[in-house]
């Protein structure tokens, strides 16, 4: 059984009416997407902005409610109520693109990392769990008392990773988790992600337009365009032998090192 499944997932956005007599325009962000993520695998969803990849990720982790379709996590249907979402929340960690805006500037590193423990009312010694998480992402324990503005971009994104794994989730979801960082930091975080995956047997769902990142971490690729999945398969196969013209176009557009 898949850890995470979507069936017929659809999300429409009703745009504001432009005139009184015209019917409102509906934008289809996602059109009937089916997806399965197996326990322990790393799946990357790729596509351009507007392809629906972030909408898909948001629906899968219960941050948004589908217009139609269902999401199942660990055999249970996830719906909009807080009660139904709790098991999913308990077992999910999230990392977003921008370590500058995703960390509360008024909280210390320790408080930021410990937030999921408080929000999910997880029993136990929070301080010890925070220390362990900082260690997992190789951040010096001395940084626990610091504030985000005192850290470098790479350290901030490590804090974001620590927050994502502090409650030992089974699923890690990243939305462009490395695109705001420079190349050296990216290489270090790529190693970190690989290690966390191994150590905690994490299932990983990545949303990215960064084929470099995807090539180095994903087992499976899902290519999206205009709210639909146009191709999916093993990362190795999709990148070596893309079937859909759009996938080919995407791969051809990537700048390469000589």
């Amino acid at each position: 059984m898949s850890l995470l499944s979507a069936r017929g997932l659809t999300r429409d956005h009703r745009l504001p009416r432009r005139t009184l007599f015209e019917a409102p325009v509906v934008r289809h962000a996602l059109r009937g997407v089916d997806l399965d993520v197996e326990q322990g695998e790393t799946v990357a969803v790729i596509g351009e902005s507007g392809s629906g990849k972030s909408t898909l990720a948001r629906l899968l982790i219960g941050l948004d409610v589908p217009t139609a379709g269902t999401v199942t996590f660990d055999g249970r249907t996830v719906s909009g109520s807080d009660r139904a979402l709790r098991p999913l929340r308990r077992d999910t960690g999230m990392v977003f693109q921008d370590p500058y805006s995703s960390l509360d500037p008024r909280m210390t590193v320790a408080r930021i990392v410990g937030e999921p423990l408080r929000a999910l009312r997880i029993p136990g010694d929070h301080r010890a769990m925070i220390t362990a998480a900082l260690e997992d992402v190789r951040l010096d324990a001395a940084l626990a008392a610091r504030y985000p503005h005192e850290l470098s971009g790479g350290q901030r994104q490590r804090v974001a990773f620590a927050r994502a794994i502090v409650h030992r989730p089974r699923l890690l979801v990243g939305d462009e988790p490395m695109s705001a960082l420079d190349v050296t930091v990216r290489a270090q975080l790529l190693k970190l992600l690989a290690r966390l995956r191994r150590e905690f047997d994490l299932t990983v769902l990545l949303v990215s337009h960064d084929l470099g990142l995807v090539q180095h971490v994903a087992d499976r690729l899902v290519v999206m365009r205009e709210g639909r999945i146009v191709e999916q398969g093993s990362a190795e196969r999709v990148l070596r032998d893309p079937q859909h013209p759009y996938t080919r176009e995407l791969i051809a557009a990537v700048p390469r090192l000589p």
Partner: protein, 262 residues
């Protein structure tokens, strides 16, 4: 135009953030500045433009076709920036004024320069919109920035930079915020327009693969110092300085390439 930077040193308070950096971009040259965050590459560009933030102090020399820009009066710098140096920065979202039409912004450098009639200004804006391949130039000039995609906004920024046919273009991470397909289109356009204009180019990026596609010579900066320079292909193939070697290794570990990775 020829750009000569000699012994450029930038201090903020008692901290030296750019330390004795020199390089020359010959007329029509394609020059890349590369380095991690905090290496001083963006400050170097701002110093060339005379746009360093308050509290930052630059010494040394910045010569554009032999004319000193460093320490030149603001009035003269403003003229140079508009007409001889074009700039494209990373974020087209913030570079454009949300309250003004695309056409007005495309024509702004021309309007500031001279006594163009309203009709002539509009015609120029439409011409520039066409030059940067915006869809339906005759109508897009009446649109506002929020009605355009990120790639289209960056095309507008390129159009503004090219409005007065500058001899030197400075681009700081101009495609970093764009999707891979959009990036490829915008880079292709930029490459062609720089060639057509015969302009010299200084291109700042942390993306070695992008750099390799658009520049010939590269200067590697680390913590404000120039650590290595040379033809792009040579620097990438056989980096001499440990900093360059680390950058190239990191790029190879994270960027896309056939037969690499998992």
């Amino acid at each position: 135009m020829t750009l000569e930077v000699r012994g450029l040193t930038i201090r903020i308070g008692d901290r030296t953030v750019v330390d004795d950096v020199s390089f020359t971009v010959p007329d029509g040259g394609r020059f890349g500045l590369i380095g991690g965050s905090g290496s001083g590459k963006s400050l170097t560009v701002l110093a060339i433009l005379g746009l360093l933030p308050d509290g930052a102090d630059a010494t040394g020399s910045v010569l554009l076709d032999g004319v000193e820009l460093l320490g030149a009066p603001e009035r003269r710098l403003a003229r140079v920036r508009g007409s001889r140096i074009g700039t494209v920065f990373q974020d087209p979202q913030t570079a454009l004024n949300p309250l003004r039409t695309i056409g007005r912004q495309l024509a702004e450098p021309l309007r500031l320069r001279g006594r163009l009639t309203r009709t002539a200004t509009r015609a120029e804006a439409v011409r520039l919109a066409g030059l940067v391949r915006l869809p339906d130039p005759g109508r897009v000039v009446d649109a506002y920035p929020h009605q355009l995609s990120g790639g289209q906004r960056q095309r507008v920024a390129i159009g503004i930079a090219l409005a007065l046919s500058p001899g030197l273009l400075l681009a700081d991470e101009p495609t970093t915020a764009l999707d891979v397909t959009t990036q490829a289109e915008v880079l292709g356009l930029f490459d062609r327009l720089v060639a057509d204009a015969g302009a010299s180019l200084v291109f700042v990026t942390h993306d070695l693969a992008v750099l390799a596609g658009i520049t010939r010579e590269v200067l590697v900066l680390s913590e404000g110092r120039a650590v290595e320079r040379g033809p792009v292909a040579q620097v990438l193939a056989a980096p001499q300085h440990p900093v360059t070697a680390a950058l190239v290794a990191a790029a190879r570990a994270t960027s896309f390439g056939a037969g690499e990775g998992s």
